[in-house]
């Protein structure tokens, strides 16, 4: 195993290393234990809560998946999951199409009016009209209580737009020029040449948009009133605030799994998709800041 910074030089160094490692373990525990506790609570069987309550540790032999079974057996959870997938899927698609087209179009320095467009766009980054006017706009477009209302108002992030534009501008212009000479139009250049080369940035920004949509609970609360349209975070919030779980479970909740276990199971289920794509997130977001290099 290679150690960064070389081997420890003396006693002081070793003590310091010990201190650093202790600190890191402490941080690890502080971050991890709350999540761990939620997992344990979700796995605690009903009989145990009556006798012991909830603890930090539970031997795996006593784990009970009843809470999960209850939640997944009922329509509301699966429906919310479907809505989340729908919103995230179509949201990312629309966001990426809009952002990529606009970013690429703005890389043409000779484009008449380009500076005006850029100024107008950057202005919206610094000053926006606020919550109410945007809400009224969506209302006037008759989009209230529809999925587009959740996706469209925030479709383009100006920050992502500028990042993408910079990336496109840094690609060699000879690529485009030789394609034009071969008879391609601008759209074909974008589709066949620029985009394949931009895979890293497209994946990064796409992931960014996806995480935003998946986690968003406020836009749905604001624009949607139909409970069947609510995505997972909104359902989770309702579950966490509920005093009785009967609406959310398959059978009468009181007799199958403890209420807290059900709530924590809902939390863990909502968290799972993010955990699944986390390795990809790490790969594209840390971009080498992850400690892996060796410095001697």
């Amino acid at each position: 195993m290679k150690f960064r910074l070389g081997k420890p030089k003396n006693m002081g160094d070793t003590t310091f290393d010990g201190g650093v490692n202790l600190f890191l373990i402490l941080v690890l525990l502080i971050t991890f234990i709350p999540i761990w506790y939620a997992v344990i609570v979700s796995l605690t069987p009903l009989e145990l809560t009556k006798s012991q309550g909830y603890n930090l540790f539970l031997p795996p032999t006593q784990w009970s998946l009843e809470a999960y079974r209850q939640l997944l057996g009922q329509d509301s959870f699966l429906n919310a999951l479907l809505m989340s997938c729908l919103i995230t899927g179509s949201g990312v698609a629309i966001d990426m199409i809009l952002t990529t087209l606009t970013a690429y179009a703005l890389t043409f320095k000779d484009l008449p009016g380009r500076n005006i467009f850029l100024t107008l766009i950057i202005f919206t980054f610094l000053f926006n009209a606020g919550l109410i006017p945007t809400y009224l706009m969506v209302k006037n477009l008759n989009l209230l209580n529809t999925i587009p209302a959740v996706i469209l108002p925030g479709a383009i992030s100006v920050y992502n737009l500028l990042v993408m534009k910079t990336f496109f501008q840094n690609l060699p212009s000879s690529l485009r020029e030789s394609a034009i000479v071969d008879g391609a139009n601008e759209v074909q250049v974008l589709w066949h040449i620029i985009l394949p080369l931009s895979r890293p940035i497209l994946l990064t920004i796409g992931l960014f948009y996806a995480v935003g949509h998946w986690n968003d609970f406020f836009q749905p609360i604001l624009y949607l009133s139909d409970p069947n349209l609510m995505p997972l975070p909104v359902l989770l919030r309702n579950i966490l605030l509920a005093s009785s779980m009967n609406d959310y479970v398959e059978q009468n909740a009181l007799f199958a799994a403890p209420q807290d276990a059900l709530k924590m199971a809902a939390v863990i289920l909502t968290m799972l998709p993010m955990l699944f794509i986390y390795p990809w997130i790490q790969r594209y977001f840390t971009k080498g800041v992850l400690l892996g290099g060796v410095k001697e």
Partner: protein, 322 residues
């Protein structure tokens, strides 16, 4: 018959020039017609969802009645703004917003820096990488999920922390609904969620410091702590200043999503911030004009703050946001 020759306004040479310039412009526009086509969806988006609302924002200056619509509602100038400034909740909202925001700044940045320092000084890489991976995760969770985790920890009934409190002999504490605890919960849960992500920028800066500086200091007999204080920290000073200044620029955003999910009526007095008030008054109580006015007020101050923050950052830290 003698005909008068009317001298043209522009000389023949100039006419040819200006017509040339115009037709060149038109030709350029035509040449870029595909690019304009690509730009069109974006233009429609910005027009509808960024500038359309700006037009509708005029209701801040009107007595907006939905029956009459935006144009026909009567004009009342700055009355909405004055109503807000004279109301008793103006001071409370401003205080809560600034206090919570500053607390997040003051108590949030040092942990990120310390974590970055620990990660960069770590010799045992597997532990460092594991810590980095785990602390990085909460940033990607929804605040609703974090709310759930917090409930597990803080709930007066079975929360982990309250279990310890009760075992120690005291009464369970209602962390989330107690005004004395709410701000502390907001700030500390924000640190829990964001410290790992915030550490990245400092870590990147730390890893780019020339190792020879450390070697020279080691040769001179500097201890690890001394090397951190005299080399690591000064080298990332610019990054720290940059982050601080830019966060000051957005100080009026106290974290709406988090507060919205975690707050409740008992803690409005300490937790209600400008954005949460605008949502309640505007959407739930239909005070469209008043809430828009407050939103515009916040946006205008925010604009000034960001522009100033950016200029200051460029002068003192070398670079800004844009």
């Amino acid at each position: 018959m003698r005909t008068e020759v009317i001298p043209p306004l522009v000389s023949k040479a100039e006419t040819r020039q200006s017509v040339g310039r115009t037709s060149r412009l038109l030709r350029r526009i035509w040449r870029y017609r595909m690019v304009y086509l690509m730009l069109l969806p974006g233009i429609i988006y910005f027009a509808l969802f960024r500038y359309g609302p700006l037009y509708l924002a005029q209701i801040a200056f009107k007595d907006f009645q939905p029956v009459l619509g935006v144009e026909a509602s009567p004009w009342i100038g700055f009355q909405n703004f004055l109503t807000f400034f004279h109301s008793y909740y103006f001071a409370q909202l401003l205080a809560n917003t600034l206090i919570i925001s500053s607390a997040k700044l003051v108590f949030g940045i040092p942990p990120a820096i310390i974590l970055a320092l620990a990660l960069s000084e770590a010799r045992f890489l597997p532990l460092a990488r594991l810590t980095q991976t785990v602390t990085y995760l909460p940033h990607f969770l929804s605040w609703v999920v974090v709310f759930g985790v917090l409930l597990g920890l803080l709930s007066p009934d079975n929360g982990l922390i309250n279990q310890a409190v009760v075992k120690a002999g005291s009464q369970p504490i209602d962390f989330l609904t107690n005004p004395a605890w709410f701000r502390a919960i907001i700030v500390s849960s924000d640190i829990w969620k964001e410290a790992g992500w915030g550490a990245i920028i400092y870590l990147a800066a730390l890893l780019s410091i020339d190792p020879s500086q450390y070697e020279a200091a080691a040769l001179d007999g500097a201890s690890r702590l001394q090397r951190i204080w005299y080399i690591s920290l000064p080298n990332i000073k610019d990054v720290i200043v940059l982050v601080t200044i830019l966060r000051l620029g957005t100080i009026l955003d106290a974290g709406f999503a988090q507060i919205f999910v975690l707050y409740s009526l008992p803690v409005y007095s300490v937790g209600d911030v400008i954005d949460t008030w605008v949502y309640r008054e505007g959407i739930l109580n239909f005070q469209f004009g008043l809430a828009t006015a407050v939103g515009l007020f916040k946006g205008a101050i925010g604009l000034v703050l960001i522009v100033v923050a950016n200029r200051v950052a460029k002068r003192f830290a070398g670079s800004g946001l844009y």
